[in-house]
Amino acid sequence: MSNTKENLFSPKNIKLLTAPLSRENPITVQVLGICSALAVTVKLQPAFVMAISVMAVVAVGNVVISLLRKTIAPRIRIIVQLVVIAALVILVDQVLKAFVYDISKQLSVFVGLIITNCIIMGRFEAFAMSNKAWPSFLDGVGNSAGYGIILIIVAFFRELLGSGTVWGYHVVPQFMYDIGYKNNGLMILPPMALIVVGIIIWVQRTKDKVLIEN
């Protein structure tokens, strides 16, 4: 630590927090953590809980790995990482079961599947193994926020169009139904999540040409 103490919220650190929200978004650009992103987005509430859970696991895990990084032998790092992730996920799972049992039932196996969410492994490998604790924490929060944003956008549209509700409250007024509006049942079905994410990617890449693939 010979150089002068870096400001906690220096521009570099802020960038760690904001880059994953758009240009380095884990879901639409890095293609990580897709499975859970699609499966829990029928309703806004479980999607939100899932996003918070992932954030807790990535942020805390990143800090733990970053503190341990000098003591982990490269050969066994995957197992060490998996153990850290699994331990944190067990904690999250037990907390959810204790306080929001209904939602944890809705999320079913997907809480357990946070273990295999590639965002977490990806961030451990790409960032926490070579950075100090505070930047790792910000990186974890940033990336899981980028993941959470996509989750919430997808869940918002699927819940609004699929069941006419937002966060469980009816927002489509009754007279719309009276004049013939119908909820689009297709939006509740799993494949529509993929198509919604496809459209998000389309919109994002139209706005940000750098991301276009050849």
Partner: protein, 205 residues
């Protein structure tokens, strides 16, 4: 026997890992550029699922689920180690993947090099852990049913990845709008394939 076949077919078509649950999406999207590598990865996934699901079934039955320790002594009958299942399952999976890696390296070196990084990544493929967790949640009656479910989900995953790889090989020659190229169009095609697979849902087995 009839029951086993029905579980097998169900897990391939109706409860397809990719199209119904989106499990193992990351490697599905990343490795599906050519048919050849996706066939290799698909076979590896079938193999790993076919082994880990029955092994985890035994562990779940005799070690983890509530009251399962009573075979050691009746005093342990009310021990519930269920909360440990994630960590035990992932340990089994990680060691199986290591084993598969060594086998492929020994007997099919060409495939080994073409799969590269994605082989160890099977360990964090959610389809594998998902298989074990679904097995736990659905409470299959015996090990034969669990095996048939594991193999079936593997075959379903295999079908999905080979299918999308074939489509992606062809789509390279078509005029896709620039922002949709690559990832975007793959998502949308997978969605459409998912809708197609949903037509199997009405079938009662």
């Amino acid at each position: 026997m009839e029951n086993l076949i029905s579980i097998f077919v169900r897990s391939i078509f109706i409860d397809n890992m990719i199209f119904a649950y989106f499990l193992g999406m990351c490697s599905y999207l990343a490795v599906s550029k050519t048919v050849k590598t996706s066939v290799g990865l698909g076979i590896a996934v079938v193999f790993v699922l076919g082994i880990t699901v029955p092994v985890d079934y035994l562990l779940n039955k005799y070690l983890l689920s509530a009251g399962s320790l009573s075979w050691i002594s009746p005093a342990l009958a009310d021990v519930d180690l269920n909360f440990l299942s994630f960590i035990i399952f992932i340990a089994v999976i990680a060691s199986m993947v290591q084993l598969v890696e060594m086998i492929i390296e020994k007997f099919a070196p060409a495939l080994y090099t073409s799969l590269g990084i994605f082989l160890p990544l099977i360990a964090v493929n959610c389809a594998i852990l998902g298989g074990s967790l679904f097995m736990q949640e659905r409470e299959y009656a015996n090990i034969a049913e669990a095996t048939s479910f594991g193999l079936g989900s593997g075959v379903g995953w295999f079908l999905a990845i080979v299918g999308i790889a074939a489509i992606r090989e062809k789509i390279r020659y078509s005029q896709v709008p620039a922002p949709l190229r690559g990832l975007g169009i793959t998502f949308i095609i997978t969605g459409l394939m998912g809708i197609a697979f949903m037509s199997f849902m009405g079938i009662k087995l």
